[in-house]
Amino acid sequence: MVEVARFAVERVEILRPDGTLAAPLPAWAEQPDELIRLYRGMVLTRTYDTKAVNLQRTGRLGTVASSLGQEAVAVGTAAAMRPEDVLLPSFREQGAMFWRGVRIEELLAFWGGDERGSNWAEAREDFPICVPVGSHAPHAAGVACAFRLRHEPRVAVCVLGDGATSKGEVYEAWNLAGVWRLPMVTVVNNNQWAISVPRSAQTAAETLAQKAIACGMPGVQVDGNDVIAVREVVGRAIERARSGEGPSLVEAVTYRLSDHTTADDARRYRDDAEVSTHWKEEPVARLRSLLVARGLWGKEREEALVAGCNREVERAVEAYLARSPAPASDMIDHVFASVPEPLAPQREAILRRAAARAAGAEGAAR
């Protein structure tokens, strides 16, 4: 019996739940503005989530997935990216999407049932939200492959959940990225739950980071409630990929404080007790403690920030609610670059039906 390979998985922690330091701050984090930007990103995200859930409850928005308690993963990841990198999000990365320039009203439009919401004005190359779990991982490999073939120093960043790590195409994409040394970084948002299925029922692997070993790439675990550590560890992974050293995986360990979505009732399958213990570790208060301890933050600044975020979200909600409806023909006009001749009659039929519906509505109104 001879040993032919050995591996270790490491975990990075910087900011403790109580706001004290478990390790020295990275240089960039010594700059107050950097920390405050991260803080603002998380607060804005939480403000949006609260509002979105409220809009859904009051029938003005469809099902939405809150990222309550997980803001550090999305914000820290986006903060580590360059604008020219490409984000391939799952459905809980609003914090990253806003950071990258997606407008709040655009995201609201999407969850409000309007495809135009995915045709956002900034970050044009970023992928739309991916609902079929894990199915965007191969796309990330493709985007990374494009960068590699064009010799561009850009990175494809894929974010997916603990549940998604059970999907075969995720493994396949990682395996390809490994063997082709593609500039692809995957952030596994391990929030401990896939709807009602706990992480422990998803895999027997001690960590999700070690799944990288199967694909011949590095995997590391980070405290996902510590935005500084996330930003730092994901940043290293991204710069490693950018410099041609290949893909890697970052497992960000966090916790889903909210229901899975507004369509879910987590009380059916987990104890409030479990949830409240995790409230002690949530990322926003944690960073605030550091800011306060360093004298960078106080009551006024907090109130101003909260008020600003509220205003920004409110304005976006108004814009969202004021959107004019899209023409029904949109549903076929964008299926192909141009409507194929054989489908022209269907386009007509769509317009006729839309007219009939409108007439019907009027009829009902009268």
Binding site: G62, D114, S166, G168, R268
Partner: protein, 326 residues
């Protein structure tokens, strides 16, 4: 007798099957404690335990292949897909394995599995949650595709599907999961597969529809009746293998056929029905066959969904066109 919604009827059939046959298993995502996202398996985990009701890791391709292995070993796994749009990873296992394990081993191994999923639009759900993929499944040799359109048929057909020795894709019209209640006896009595149901007799026009749209069709038929036209409503229930005889007999009587479905039109599930009429019912047709369907586009998000999905007015408009032919 108790009054049940469609999803309650599904749950009753699942409980009955678990009760009567120890080889029946429920597999899927969140079918355990959570009771399924639509609560179709609610309390079954508590009642039958973790060896009968199993939450799998998150992969549809996996639990479909898992079911094939369990089925070959004599279990009768009933797997739940959370939504229609997540069934596609199962197609490979259905096409290359489930649908042919019996044939390729000449009966040595078989595949008594059921793949359940809520399907169809109309609940203002997110992307990939409102698909009508029945046509894809209906095209797979060796696999039955069954769709109930009422609580009673959900109960009887699901029991039949579970007891059937071959693979069945069982699509549940989520839009009417809770829309109607029906008095039904939880007596373990199954309904026949491979048999169409004539839901209403009529002599002027045949309307073929399944799933959630059967309601709009019945309402349209009421309107037509007020106008003096009597529509015969045929619900194939089993889309494949398709009971063509019942449809042909109906059209032989009415001379007119309207086919209604949510799925896209082109190469859609209604095409086979129209094709059979063109082949075997041609000379009884007084009017062209008509299809009222979705469009050849991805199901739109909720804002435009109402235009994509056929409504009663569309059915009436088409019916009037056909009735104009004498």
């Amino acid at each position: 007798m108790s009054s049940m919604t469609l999803v309650e009827a599904v749950r009753a059939a699942l409980a009955r099957a678990l009760e009567e046959d120890p080889t029946v298993l429920l597999l899927g995502e969140d079918v355990g404690r959570d009771g399924g996202v639509f609560r179709a398996t609610e309390r079954l985990f508590e009642r039958f335990g973790p060896e009968r009701v199993l939450d799998t890791p998150l992969s549809e391709a996996l639990f479909t292949g898992l079911a094939v292995g369990l089925g070959a070993q004599g279990f009768r796994p009933v797997v739940e897909f959370q939504f229609d749009g997540f069934m596609y990873p199962a197609l490979d296992q259905l096409l290359n394995h489930a649908g042919r394990l019996r044939a390729r081993t000449r009966g040595r191994l078989s595949c008594p599995i059921v793949l359940r999923a809520p399907y169809g639009g109309g609940i203002r759900a997110p992307e990939h949650h409102s698909e009508s993929p029945e046509g894809l499944f209906a095209a797979i040799p060796g696999v039955r595709t069954v769709i109930p359109s009422s609580p009673a048929r959900a109960y009887g057909l699901l029991l039949a599907a579970i007891r059937d020795p071959d693979p069945v894709v069982f699509l549940e019209p989520k839009r009417i999961y809770r829309a109607v209640r029906e008095e039904l006896e939880d007596d373990g009595r199954a309904l026949p597969l491979d048999r169409a149901f004539v839901l209403r007799e009529g002599r002027d026009l045949t309307i073929v529809a399944w799933g959630a749209l059967v309601r709009e069709v019945l309402e349209a038929a009421d309107r037509l009746a007020e106008e003096g036209a009597r529509a015969e409503i045929v619900d194939p229930a089993t889309l494949a293998p398709l009971d063509a005889a019942t449809i042909l007999a109906s059209v032989a009587k009415t001379g007119r056929c309207l086919i209604v479905h949510e799925a896209p039109r082109g190469h859609g599930p209604g095409a086979e029905i129209a094709a059979i009429l063109a082949e075997e019912g041609l000379f009884s047709l007084l009017a062209p066959v008509a299809r009222v369907t979705g469009f050849d586009a991805p199901t739109p998000l909720p804002r435009l969904e109402g235009v994509f999905l056929p409504a009663e007015v569309d059915i009436l408009e088409a019916a009037h066109r056909l009735l104009a032919h004498r």
